[in-house]
Amino acid sequence: MAIYFIEKNRFEELIISWVSDYDVFVPFERNQQLFYELLLPNNTENFSAGLVRPVQPLKFFFNPFQERVVPEIEVKEKRIIIGAANCDLKGLKILDRVFIEGDYKDPNYEKRRKNTFIVSIDCTQPLSVCFCKTLGINPYPDSGFDLNLTKLENGFLIETGSENGVKLIEKFALKPSSESLISEREKIRNQSSAVILKHNEQFHIPSNITEIFHKLFFHKNWEEVWKTCVQCGSCTNICPSCVCFFLEDISKKDGFMKSKIWDSCLLPGYARMASGVSPRPLLAERYRNRLACKYQYMVENFKMIGCTGCGRCIAGCPGKIDKRKVLSSIFEDKVMDVRYESLKYL
């Protein structure tokens, strides 16, 4: 839509002006990682939008770990989330496909999606685990945001992506960005893309990953790659596009009551039926299934690849499994240690 420039101190004024009408969440740096926290008017000091995706995916805001679905809960809060990266917008798009774009709409998700505005960012400091670019996803968004930020030396470029985004900045009468700042943005974007590609040179992730994945579904290396998985469910919990949940019935005498709680396909009970029979009794099968869901099944279900290359499942794995090495092992037909040694954060 349109691109504006805003100086650093006016940007802080802008986001603080939203606090009176909205719960505003922004990333703060904690132990060299970014975490969303509620913005308080007197606390913008360590605020760090414009570096990289925060630890939490957007899923945490729209599809919480556990919530009541019967009877429906009231969703009143109006929120603005600042600092989501493109990988997270793509993850949120998968959630939209699941929860509101099909025949059946999830009641709570639909309300939250309407009441929440998203101010995304261009990544300027991709992490060593980031691999969006190898899956054809850019470290900057082209859609799915209300506003998008690019961090420059003295301020931010703000691009509007929706009518709601336009409304959020209209009081501030911002100046349109100059051509030179827009080319500066191009340069930053290209740099980030190049950094991500460089980080991932050693891995073999083909552009036609879905097709190759399908062909190599029964590759013998699937027997090896999962071996340090402790089936904790970290990767599914932290994934921006993992949506699986179970329903718990907590009905009382006076009416039905149900809760929806995240589940993980790595857990042995996930698909096990009452008879004790499971379609995937082995952890090797469950591990492969998680990746098949991302690279194959979601593509068939939603016409979108289910993995956004955010690297959270790598960073969060206590078994230190680097998914990129897993894919390389299968695709290159090479038995290898799929663990990483250490990770570099900000």
Partner: protein, 277 residues
Amino acid sequence: MNHSNIYEPLKCIVDNVIEESPTIRTVVLIPEKNFVFRAGQFISVTVPGIGEAPFTPSSSPAVTDKLEVTVMKVGRVTNAIHNLKKGDIVGIRGPYGKPYPLEKFAGKEVLLVGGGVGLAPIRSLFYALIDTAEQYKKIVFCCGAKTPADYIYKNEVLGCWHDYCSKLPLSFRITVDKKDENWKFNEGLVTKTLENLDIDISNSVAVVCGPPVMMKFVTLKLLDIGYKDSDIYLSMERKMYCGVGHCRHCLIGPYFVCKDGPVFTYDLIKNEPGVWA
């Protein structure tokens, strides 16, 4: 379903609980509002405070003010269903999934193969077929159970349904794995009833429902005697929660049992991992 909340069940009163076999009971439910479904679709039954599980109604889809589900006792929820008494309250959600495509069966010879508690959806289908019997050239009903005591719907399958045979192009092939002294039908696995079928296989569809191992061997037998994989209709079973394609528990490869199934033709799923689990 008129509810705006997809997870809100429709209240039902338990009208009767019928003991079918030592491990299987049929629960007759009276829904708060008339409940419309088609044979092969499933519902999710909530036992308040215990949990929810998917079942295909076993009663005639022509009846909308009563509903029957036939349940084998295997786990927590099914155990609670077995303990229901007349007057108890349960909830149902649905109907979900794709029904048996009766319109595709028109003009064909329909082979029904049911085993054990798998007769439940076949019973519902049977009533739907009988109601539109003039559309099908022939109906052959093969069914099996472990022992005579394990047969469900004894009065119908072993009794009154046979009365239709004089009026309709309908025949039964009934077997048990192991007979007793009073058994007047066949002995042997249900696959044995598929030998020397008096059916024009090139103009036939086969509908199979039963335990996974039975479905597997019946499917292999059907392929063996000349059925095309696209003419074999299987009622698949998976762990389910939402019923609407959100929670992803029921996937067979990329296919949702809740949304794309539960009735699948074999050609669609035959190459997916863990089909017969």
